[in-house]
Symmetry: C2
Subunit: 230 residues, 2 copies
DNA sequence: AAAAAACCGTACTGTACGGTACGAATATCT
DNA sequence: AGATATTCGTACCGTACAGTACGGTTTTTT
């Protein structure tokens, strides 16, 4: 644990390379991106590039890690504060969708999904840093609501997944498959309002508790994401 | 409209090539698949390959079209026949999930999503042939149920999308991102049972009708998928 | 059987890639 | 200023790729 996070010039340069590389990887995909083009865009030489990253896969890995970190660190409230549950959920859903539907975020998802079979660690790292964290935060909020009797009892994590799924139901696959334009703010809002209504009805506290299914392994709960090598 | 679908030997060979190419594309992705390897796997020469397909992109397009066709043509009942709605929905959900979670189907989704930005027509064609059709069939069934007062009134297509989303909620993203193993049959079943329960509660006929949001353009209803060129 | 078409194997072209080598230029540190 | 580390530009290596060319061979048609 170093006390002061020294920001050497090397670190800055490394970060600059990552940011340029990110743009190009996101635009062109992994296979269609050449190290030469990255070096040219970064304004340096290829030799320098290889002084910072030993290979193309290592640079790619660094880029995905970097974005994953941003995904995880981008905080927005997932807490339910007010007395109007529906209203709060609409706000949460809007923030979530606005966040993950940004063009850059979509490009990232396409990139990681497309390479998930060849770079399994990256899919894992991205999921851990992004979706898993958000789901966990949401689940915590839902757990409290369940205990307060404001939400139907059941598996809080599954409730979070259901909430997320309902919010994405209409638009996400279209966007993922690049079918038609992304919904504008107005449609997104209407979409979420109906989804939240459906969610609130499905999880009305007056209903009998939902069964809690045993969860299949693969939850490294307290392991953020090491990803030492790729 | 030719009266008889003559199956020439050329057609058969073309189909054989497509089937081999499909396997290799699905295994390796678009960029990492070479025409030479396809020719070798097909047992022919590269010249022959180019006698059937003018370019790599054209072959890729043919492959995606072919699979899309299979996705669309693979029929399984999405109708609700019995008096036990929940039971029928569980059966439908199971069939749907089993179908789209096959390793080949998952590889296909990853492939199309990964290339969706560079081959927009393919994303569209796949969506039209696969998900859109299933959703439309399900929506038809739901519309009837709504009219019969067995399901809450609202937009039937949105209801189908919600149903689909709830069924996928837990496992799909994990599978798409290649995080952990795919759920086995037992877990899948339990997952779907809870999802269907939530859906039935969200769409209980006793609830007030859901608002019907105006749908954003991009529904070429009566246009199957031409995809003349890529 | 003769003619036509399709196919095969192989070699080739041009290009692009990941990665390396190296001397010159530049910046950084003491 | 002098020593040191870093960066630059460029050329290069080996490889692999999409796509073409072509002569010999098999299959199909007439």
């Amino acid at each position: 644990m170093s006390a002061v996070p020294v920001e050497t010039s090397r670190d800055r340069r490394r970060q600059a390379i990552i940011e340029v590389a990110r743009r190009i990887f996101l635009e062109n995909g992994y296979g269609a991106t050449s190290m030469s083009s990255i070096a040219a865009a970064v304004g340096g030489s290829k030799g320098t590039l290889y002084a910072y990253f030993r290979s193309k896969t290592e640079l790619f890995s660094a880029v995905v890690q970097d974005i994953s970190g941003q995904f995880g660190e981008t905080e927005f409230s997932l807490a339910v504060q007010g007395s109007d549950l529906k209203r709060d959920l609409i706000a949460i859903g809007s923030r979530l969708m606005t966040f993950i539907r940004r063009p850059e975020a979509m490009a990232m998802q396409r990139l990681v999904i497309g390479e998930a079979e060849r770079f399994p660690e990256l899919g894992q790292a991205f999921y851990d840093a992004g979706p898993r964290r958000k789901l966990a935060a949401l689940a915590t909020a839902f757990e409290t609501l369940m205990e307060q009797g404001r939400l139907r009892r059941g598996d809080p994590t599954l409730a979070a997944e259901h909430f997320f799924a309902l919010c994405q139901a209409r638009g996400h696959h279209r966007v993922l498959w690049n079918v038609g334009p992304a919904p504008d703010a107005k449609h997104l809002r209407a979409e979420i309002e109906i989804s939240v209504q459906a969610f609130c009805d499905a999880y009305a506290p007056s209903l009998a508790p939902l069964p809690v299914a045993e969860r299949q392994g693969c939850e490294p709960r307290s392991k953020p994401h090491s990803l030492a090598s790729v």
